[in-house]
Symmetry: C2
Subunit: 174 residues, 2 copies
DNA sequence: TTTTCCATGTAACTCGTTACATGATTTC
DNA sequence: GAAATCATGTAACGAGTTACATGGAAAA
């Protein structure tokens, strides 16, 4: 449902065709959404059938005609409803990486630390990337900042986990 | 894949049947995983076909026989591989609630604050619930603590967003 | 001239959920 | 005797991804 909201929200600002929408999202929102082409086309078709969008075909050269989409009134109210729904509800996050944590004790401490350090590297990289994203206009900036906050918390957390399971030998060897 | 890891991890500790597994997860891990019955049965069948589990039928009374599952050696190595995979990779989180944020400016500030306050209430409730969960044994406790940390960050974040979009009139009216 | 980009589409598949059905057994 | 629990199962659906196919246009 939030993917539809995304498409509607973008189309409300400027009319676009599928390829363009996908491109835009991929370029400017890759850090927070990953909408595949197939999904974009599928949703646009569906929303057209629902009467939320009207496509206009633009022929240019010998390639497949662009279908530029425009919100209808029904589309606008769908947008309004979804936006309110989205803003007012709290979506629970599920951390798929936590199931491993629950079984951490079935590994020798040293190996556990190694594995988690690997995770840490990837996490750090994502954080670096997020912090390097050029500032966005308007409230899109909020999304970036949210991500950065989240990643910082994750990093802190991971460091604490590593510290906790680190074997004593670390100190003895020093 | 993490659901399989979960089932294998539990079965490695004690042999159980499907109903029992579902019950256990529902009772003790509801805050971090939600594994439906149908999914549990499906995965157990699949993993049995893969040769990771051997079921033993236990007839008791006139009800459907319990299928108690036990890890095979192949199951054990699958578990080992998945655990390492899970621990060493960083899974990116997607916040479905962020798409609304990106379009926040299409609403009057006052309404936006109202909607987000609603979200805040639900978030606070989940945080309260997470903080009230009785302490878990071993590293399962880590999962709870992770959730609490995450929710605290979310709450902080949400408060800041609300503060930022709060209309000036608040001060004027006081 | 070969590669990349533009622009669409679709069939098959995965993962998981929903919503049922069955029928004995225990609890109120 | 009604309701909840035990214990399984399955058919249908939904959302999304993968992996293709097409074919002209622009760039290397």
């Amino acid at each position: 449902m939030e993917r539809e909201l995304l498409l509607l929200g973008l189309l409300r600002q400027t009319d676009m065709h599928g390829y363009q929408l996908h491109e835009f999202i991929h370029r400017n929102m890759a850090s927070c959404v990953d909408l595949k082409k197939a999904t974009a086309y599928y949703l646009l078709d569906k929303m057209t059938e629902s009467g939320w969008l009207i496509p206009t075909e633009e022929q240019e050269g010998g390639r497949p005609p662009r279908r530029v989409y425009q919100l209808t009134e029904a589309g606008e109210s769908a947008y309004q409803a979804m936006l309110r729904e989205n803003l007012s509800t709290h979506y629970e996050a599920r951390f798929t990486g936590d199931i491993g944590l629950a079984f951490l004790d079935s590994l020798p401490a040293e190996e556990a630390v190694n594995l988690l350090s690997h995770r840490r590297t990837a996490l750090q990289a994502e954080l670096d990337a997020a912090q390097t994203v050029p500032p966005h206009v308007g409230t899109s900036q909020l999304v970036i900042e949210h991500l950065v906050r989240h990643l910082r918390t994750e990093l802190d957390w991971l460091d604490e986990v590593i510290r906790r399971i680190e074997p004593r030998s670390e100190q003895e060897n020093t």
